[in-house]
């Protein structure tokens, strides 16, 4: 089966290469911002004579090989003026294009040029791009510009509600998203348990969310990829921008290192609520703050070689009196080298270090807890622009993981706690991939690829051995799952392979253009996830630990198909995207009842491998231009999980029945719009309406040892009340004053304008006075007005 597929694959490759017979030349180069030399990602370069196009890659590079001739080239990009140029191509040519932003021209003119129309030609589907400029104008809670909260307005994307961390894509778990910042994996994307994202909007250049049809260069997570790139820094002139908000302030400095050759960027952000706490006598000893730091240095060695060194460091700190201190965060460091082997062959080599640390000191118990995950990645990616109709991407990458599931030590001399280190775990995950983008005809294009991933769980000491190889036993008498007692342990050398897996991950997407305005697209992808987040809650918490697959905990395997219809209409001022998807995930882990997830040294004893399925219909209607633009997105979907018994005697979890996953939202409607009133004022509105989150309400109660205990039926059968809120914002850009380059804006916003008390949870308890049982709704944000000030010079 595999060999037959492989043969077909090779045949397709060949057909792409052989299609070129005419005399052809290559046009290549980079496309960047005229003011800052910042390279631009995903810029469309269109050649009307050939009806062919190319887009710039993550490093702003493009290359297209076309027959000799005279062409008029059209370059368009969101937020920039469209550039049209005549070009005579009679030899291989390197041309770097510079685009001028809209900000510098009369707004009335630009509006007609800023088109965010849907690309109906490319076989890319289930992908959403957001411009940082648009994200910054959206009304957000407390005025904190938030990349992750903005993507919640896209079809198929939800989260567990206000103040919850992570996001769910097409009914998948938050742990199933691969979040990359300059190609480095970010393990925890939230500050303050989910109130704010870890991404400083000023430092971000571009972000792209892949919900399906995921290219072969990505792997390692089952559901989605959020690919975020930091800015390189202005290599023309020194520039500063920043903002002052209610919660945090940020400052970003960028400038040339050596004129036009190198640039630096350094950005910091910090919350300062704790400073006010210090003023209050009550709160003097308490602290709650976060900060992050983005840095990047870019250097152009010559026209064929670029170096980038970038880093991120973020921490959250909580301190309450002297009773506890809690600190956690990500850090990443990566070095990348772009090299052009030829004007058709672009390469990037990355060396990446990334870690996540969680620390907790509970002084009143005399207890210090540390856990984390470190990983080291090497990646080598190639983009080969063979012809204008055929492009190959291929590469290899390898990740080495070092997990610290937790260490516990006494924090004081009089502490009763013993030192203990949960067994450290190590793993190695190499992969290779090849992906072809091919235009089969004027109407039909495909992108097809294959990723071959491997996973080696490397040696640790004290690996438990169980009777029948089963770390979870089923007590048929009690009808419950129980932890098995190991019958022995096995020791492995540090680099000895304890368990290995390998999977072929095919990827395919097709686009068939009905005419200039409409197309159908379809995609299939298989994704394998070798890491599991040990979390029993509907939204991840910072203290959740990641654990590698082993002999007992199997890798998650996701298969997803999607079909879509895409249309631009009314002279491309509107776009409609309709997609439907079905996703099936094997080996989704579930926990036995009463599982203790924290500081558990034998996680295999509480985990059962189940499965998951999700399907839905997404509709996105965008208005791309005019003074009023924005979109309406609606998703109808279902997401379920099942953990049946492993044999006929076992009942499984939830009696082996399918149940709604915690992120199943039947309906999800989001409307976002921006209205340019005049040069000074822009208004923004967001509206979100979605089904309440699935929860389990009690269906009875009883008394045990004098306490009232609610009794529950089947899992996630109930739902919280519907979730909705309307937010507005107004951005004031004062008329440019005479100071040289000083630009500023005020963003006024009201989150949840009609003060909806959305339920974050409904708890059940016995009233301590009346002793009656009652249902208690907890809501987080009511109406929240905010103001923030942004500047740039």
């Amino acid at each position: 089966m595999i060999s037959k597929n492989y043969f077909l694959f090779c045949l397709l490759l060949l057909s792409g290469i052989l299609a070129s017979a005419q005399e052809k030349f290559t046009l290549s180069g980079t496309i960047s911002d005229n003011n800052s030399n910042e390279t631009l990602i995903g810029v469309n370069l269109f050649i009307p004579e050939l009806k062919t196009e190319v887009t710039t890659n993550e490093y702003g590079f493009y290359s297209i090989t076309i027959p000799k001739g005279n062409y008029s080239i059209r370059i368009s990009y969101m937020g920039y003026q469209t550039l049209e140029e005549q070009l005579q191509l009679n030899q291989n040519t390197k041309t770097n294009f510079k685009l001028i932003t809209n900000e510098n021209t009369l707004k009335e003119v630009i509006i007609t040029d800023t088109k965010t129309r849907t690309d109906i030609r490319k076989p890319e589907m289930s992908v959403n791009k957001l411009s940082i400029a648009a994200v910054k104008k959206m009304p957000v809670v407390l005025g904190e510009v938030d990349v992750l909260k903005s993507i919640l307005l896209l079809p198929g994307v939800t989260n567990a509600g206000e103040g919850a961390s992570g996001f769910n894509v097409r009914g998948g778990g938050a742990d199933q998203n691969l979040i990359l910042l300059d190609e480095a994996t970010i393990f925890n994307s939230s500050h303050v348990f989910g109130f704010f994202s870890v991404f400083n909007p000023d430092a971000i250049k571009d972000l792209k969310l892949y919900k399906g049809g995921i290219p072969a260069r990505f792997g390692g997570r089952a559901s989605a990829v959020l690919d975020i790139y930091q800015k390189d820094g202005n290599s023309k002139e020194f520039q500063a921008n920043g903002g002052i908000g209610l919660i945090s302030s940020r400052l970003l400095l960028e400038g040339p290192l050596t004129k036009e050759k190198g640039s630096f960027l350094i950005g910091g952000r910090s919350s300062y609520a704790h400073l006010f706490m210090k003023l209050s006598k009550d709160q003097k000893n308490n602290a709650a703050y976060f900060y992050d730091l983005n840095t990047k240095v870019s250097y152009k060695l010559n026209s064929n070689n670029n170096l980038y060194l970038s880093g991120y460091f973020g921490r959250d700190v909580f301190r309450l009196a002297n009773s506890f201190t809690n600190m956690y965060g990500n850090s990443t460091l990566n070095l990348r080298w772009n090299h052009l082997f030829s004007d058709k062959l672009f390469s990037n080599l990355s060396l990446i270090y990334s870690d996540y640390y969680y620390g907790l000191n509970l002084d009143f118990v005399g207890f210090q807890w540390d856990s984390g995950i470190k990983n080291y990645t090497v990646k080598y990616d190639f983009k080969n622009y063979i012809t204008d109709r055929f492009k190959l991407n291929y590469g290899v990458n390898a990740i080495y993981y070092d997990f610290n599931p937790g260490s516990i030590q006494p924090s004081r001399a009089d502490s009763g706690i013993n030192f203990s280190q949960l067994d450290k775990k190590y793993a190695f995950e190499p992969a290779l991939y090849i992906n072809a983008d091919q235009e089969m005809s004027k109407k039909f294009s495909v992108s097809y690829g294959l990723r071959y991933s491997f996973f080696y769980r490397l040696g640790q000491s004290n690996v438990n051995v169980y009777a029948n190889n089963s770390p979870v036993t089923f007590n048929t008498n009690m009808q419950i799952y129980e932890k098995a007692t190991p019958i022995g342990t096995q020791n492995f050398q540090k680099n000895e392979i304890l368990k290995s897996y390998n999977y072929l991950e095919p990827r395919l997407s097709l686009a068939y253009q009905l005419n200039e305005k409409q197309s159908f697209k379809a995609s299939y992808n298989r994704m394998v996830q070798y890491l599991q987040l040990i979390s029993n809650t509907s939204s991840p918490t910072p203290l959740d630990v990641w654990t590698p697959s082993d002999s007992f905990i199997k890798p998650q395997i996701a298969n997803q198909i999607a079909i879509g219809y895409f249309k631009n209409f009314k002279n491309e001022s509107y776009s409609l995207e309709i997609e439907t998807y079905f996703k099936k995930i094997d080996n989704r882990i579930d926990y036995i009842d009463g599982a203790d997830l924290i500081a558990n040294n034998a996680l295999e004893q509480i985990i059962l491998n189940g499965k998951m399925r999700a399907y839905g219909l997404e509709v996105l209607l965008k208005k791309n231009e005019g003074r009023l633009n924005g979109w309406v997105s609606y998703t109808l979907s279902k997401s379920e999980q099942q953990t049946p018994g492993r044999n006929s005697l076992e009942i499984g979890i939830n009696q082996g029945k399918w149940y709604n996953s915690a992120y199943d939202k039947t309906h999800n409607l989001a409307i976002t719009s921006s209205f340019l009133y005049n040069e000074k004022w822009t208004f923004g509105t967001n509206f979100t309406l979605q089904s309440g989150q699935p929860v389990t309400y009690p269906n009875g109660q009883y008394q045990y040892l004098g306490i009232t205990i609610p009794s529950y039926g089947l899992r996630n059968k109930n739902r919280l009340p519907a979730y909705h809120h309307l937010d507005i914002s107004a951005t004031l850009t004062p008329r440019k004053n005479n100071y040289r380059n000083w630009k500023n804006e005020w963003v006024f916003s009201i989150y949840n304008i009609y003060n909806r008390k959305n339920a974050a949870a409904i708890n059940f308890r016995q009233n301590s006075e009346s002793r009656d049982n009652e249902a208690v709704k907890t809501s987080i944000f009511g109406m929240v007005p905010a103001v923030s000030y942004n500047f740039k010079f």
């Binding site: 907790l360 809650t537 009842d593 009463g594 009883y702 306490i707 996630n716 059940f764 208690v776 809501s779």
Partner: protein, 273 residues
Amino acid sequence: MKKIYCFLVWFLSFLFLSCEEVIPLHLETAPPKLVIEAAIVWKKGSSGSTQKIKLSTTTSFYTNTPSKVSGATVFIKNSTNTIFNFIEVPTTGEYKCSNFVPVIGENYTLTIIANGNTYVASETLLPVAPITRVTQNNQGGFNGKNIELKAFYNDPSNTSNYYLYRYTYSNQVTSNFYADNDSFFNGNEFFSISQNDNLKPGDKVEINHYGISKTYYNYMNIIVNIAGNSGGSPFQSPPATVRGNITNSTHPENFPLGYFSLSEYDTANYTVQ
């Protein structure tokens, strides 16, 4: 430890801005299930001959009156087949025994016959380390201003020990329970800790430490979590029906709730200074 974490996460996430309100919410009611409270406890140094077992059923969530189960046959048998009968105090659903003989390490079997079904369970009576001292700290709690009590004991190092702590306060109607295990402090002096933010000088506190089995520890951990007020939030883990160790041998699928446990316990009575 687990509860501390859960509490932490909950507490921090709502550090600012959250609000709570009691709401009317319609809940469905499942058919009633038998609930067996068979917690045999033996205070250190006492005879332990008087014991009690309570039978009731589940009721609708908002009902105030618990339903009692009368007319059942209840007895416990030890490993030498000595039978201890539990006789109902008429129509209370409480079954009492006055000649029970507790022996540490002895295995006991509970049998209940009610409404034509026979329910059985067996469990071993476990010892507990004595409470050695109680300390009071006036800079306790999360804000460093509450009165906090600790009851110390010396954990035996040769075995894994599981504890159930019960704190009964004169200023609070219901008792607080916490289950603990010695995996982080095996063989050391350790303590249970009060978690009542409203303690004032003069308040009386009864502290009980029970020695429990691993399975009862697992059970009580879930019970404490779902009964506690700290549940809910995006950090909620899915609640489930908690199965105890009692089976219905007539209709196995219709299992009862509750637990048959046997524990030695030690008590300290403390008046807040």
